[in-house]
């Protein structure tokens, strides 16, 4: 069973989704337990896989028993073993949250919603696990199709946002497909490791076709991860979709695409080609700086809670792209670590937004009026996410910033360091604005009156199914922060084994 764990990671939610589609259609009550079961199985399998990767190094799982490059393989090294654990556990937490919201938001299509939910998780897990460039495309499309639908299942505005996402997402995925085609035409292979070997063996570093393929894949992935200025689809899509959808989409989709970018750069093209041969690092870091600033500043202007958070995602994507393109080991470590920490912090704040929206029915910041009194535990969970996004120790967000800034300083990219710090400060402003509304109320009393009547804001906490994932995420953020040394050790092992060569300082 243990040997099969890599395949089981995505097969379990996959089979669960199929069963949900069939059985859940008739018996709505089985959907939720099945989803939990499927995701829990996936978490179990991914942890088993992570442990065996830590013990025995890279796992290569040959599907259909065919040796690569003839067959497709799942190739799991330190990097995707970590990311896969993150993806499966974030999906599990989002699934736990979904218990009431799905019934409230999509009551007539519960089985379809859950089936799509699990298929999305399957697609994302598959993207992380696969070692084949074309298989990645298929899984990108599965994840994309499910996200279109999950967004379009929301109210009016969501449909328009979903349409925009369809167009942008298809362009992105098609660019990726085209890029793979350019790679195939020059190397004749589709297996990621094999492509890398062929690139070296055929000495293709100078080939314009390879360069164009690199541009196509990078731009395609950028569209998918909403890297500024290709972000237009994201804010509305995550803002108007059903809350459960945004709870799984927002933390995972962009992060998994960042993973794909890292995988492409390091495993397929190789660090030497990406950084030493193409000298684009300077431009792209500046683009990342722009992304960070644009995302943060746009977030400042929002009054809708989820829209504000969506713009923060754009800034966070800037962090990661910039960190990777610093062409520096610490920056790379920081970016990969940030994939992990950002997934959980985004989950945390989106869960919080979901709870607030389902509790109050309002989407703007004023919905938070006096929340510290009414929902103290929810606010505690939110604080963990907010502090992490601001970068307050010892939450995970602080350490990712720590490594990223270290990378920025090491490589002498001060503009990136400054952008990170500015964005942290803007995050502080954003979240303390929320905290102020929740703590003082929208309109605080003029003078201080000592007899606050505690009667009219009674504690009415979110239901347990929503509170548990929120608080769980909060705790995980602390754990990831405190154990960052061990996570970073895994990432460093991966980087040192992936032959960074002269590409990275």
């Amino acid at each position: 069973m243990i040997d099969q764990a890599p395949a089981l990671i995505l097969l379990i939610p996959f089979l669960a989704s199929i069963i949900v589609a069939l059985v859940g259609f008739r018996f709505r009550a089985v959907c939720y337990p099945l989803v939990l079961l499927g995701m829990a199985g996936s978490v179990w399998a991914s942890i088993v896989t992570l442990l065996s990767v830590l013990e025995g190094g890279v796992i290569r799982y040959h599907l259909g028993g065919w040796e690569p490059p003839f067959g497709i393989e799942l190739r799991i090294d330190g990097l995707n073993a970590l990311v896969v654990v993150v993806v499966s556990s974030v999906s599990l937490l989002a699934a736990i949250y979904s218990k009431r919201t799905v019934l409230a938001e999509n009551g007539d299509k519960v089985s379809q919603f859950y089936s799509l939910f699990l298929l999305l998780a399957t697609g994302l897990l598959g993207m992380v696990l696969t070692g084949d460039a074309f298989n990645l495309y298929v899984l990108i499309e599965i994840a994309a199709l499910t996200s279109y639908a999950l967004i379009a299942m929301g109210p009016k505005r969501a449909t328009l946002a979903a349409y925009k996402y369809v167009i942008m997402g298809t362009i992105g995925a098609s660019f990726y497909l085209l890029g793979v085609g350019y790679l195939y035409i020059k190397t004749g292979s589709l297996n990621m490791v094999d492509i890398q070997e062929q690139l070296v063996a055929r000495d293709l570093a100078g080939s314009p076709a390879i360069m164009v393929s690199f541009i196509l894949i990078t731009v395609g992935v950028w569209i998918k991860m909403a890297f500024f200025p290709l972000h237009a689809w994201l804010p509305n899509a995550y803002c108007f979709s059903p809350t459960t959808s945004s709870c799984i989409l927002a933390p995972l989709v962009t992060k998994v695409m960042v993973y794909v970018m890292v995988r492409m750069m390091l495993t397929v093209y190789g660090a030497e080609y990406t950084f030493a041969h193409l000298e684009w690092s300077r431009i792209i870091v500046w683009m990342a700086v722009l992304a960070i600033l644009a995302g943060s500043i746009s977030a400042l202007g929002q009054t809708n809670l989820r829209k504000m958070l969506s713009f923060l995602i754009i800034a966070e994507v800037g962090y990661m792209v910039g960190g990777v393109w610093l062409a520096e080991e610490m920056g790379m470590v920081g970016s990969i670590y940030h994939i992990i920490s950002d997934a959980f912090m985004t989950l945390c704040v989106f869960l919080f937004a979901g709870i607030i929206i389902s509790k109050t029915g309002k989407t703007d910041l004023n919905a938070l009026d006096g929340m510290f009194k009414k929902m103290p535990l929810t606010m505690v969970g939110f604080l963990a996410g907010a502090f992490s996004l601001i970068g307050i120790p010892p939450t995970a967000g602080f350490f990712s910033k720590w490594y990223l800034i270290q990378g920025g300083i090491n490589s002498g990219r001060w503009e990136y360091v400054v952008a990170l710090l500015i964005s942290s400060l803007i995050n502080a402003v954003l979240f303390f604005r929320i905290i102020e509304i929740a703590y003082f109320g929208v309109k605080p009393a003029e003078g201080h009156d000592h007899h606050h009547s505690d009667g009219h804001d009674k504690i009415s906490e979110a239901p347990l199914s929503q509170l548990i994932p929120l608080l769980g995420t909060g705790v995980l953020l602390l754990v990831i922060g405190l154990y960052n040394k061990d996570i970073v050790a895994v990432i460093s092992d991966f980087l040192s084994s992936s032959n960074l060569g002269s590409g990275i300082r």
Binding site: L145, A149, T159, L160, V166, I167, T170, S174, Y184, L190
Partner: protein, 171 residues
Amino acid sequence: MLESLSPSFNYWIYVIIMMIGLYAMISKNNFVKKLIGMSIFQTAIILFYVSISVKEGSTIPILYHDQIHPEHGEHHEDGQGDHHQALDTLAKEHHDSHADHGDAAAGSHYPDLVIKPDDFSNPLPHVLMLTAIVVGVSTLGVGLAITQKLYGEFGSIEESEILDTIKSSND
């Protein structure tokens, strides 16, 4: 004819078609036209892939019955004739070529059959494009469904009209 203009005319064609599709996706105001653009765009990529697999003088990557069982079949005097001659001449080298692939062909049901790679076009891009077609169809379907829902909600499939509706509802 096109071949005489440029040895890589296929790429030019695919780029032109693709750009037509991309232009429609970006610039058209009508949501269905955008989806049509999307279809054109994806089809261009399929064209590109399939054109990779073409080999001069090759046929589709399916073995005919008489190729598998040459003793039973009759020799057709068409394009396949050359191929069979080549097949006969290569029969002697059969064992060497098998040695390269080791165990893979150990239990082959057609131990005497030797196939020359240049006779068949490359099957892999075909397979990939079968997938891409399916993906294209699915995306188109979902896109159309979303467009229909938009029509039901806003009463229009023109982007500018929908944006106006949203703007006026916000005021």
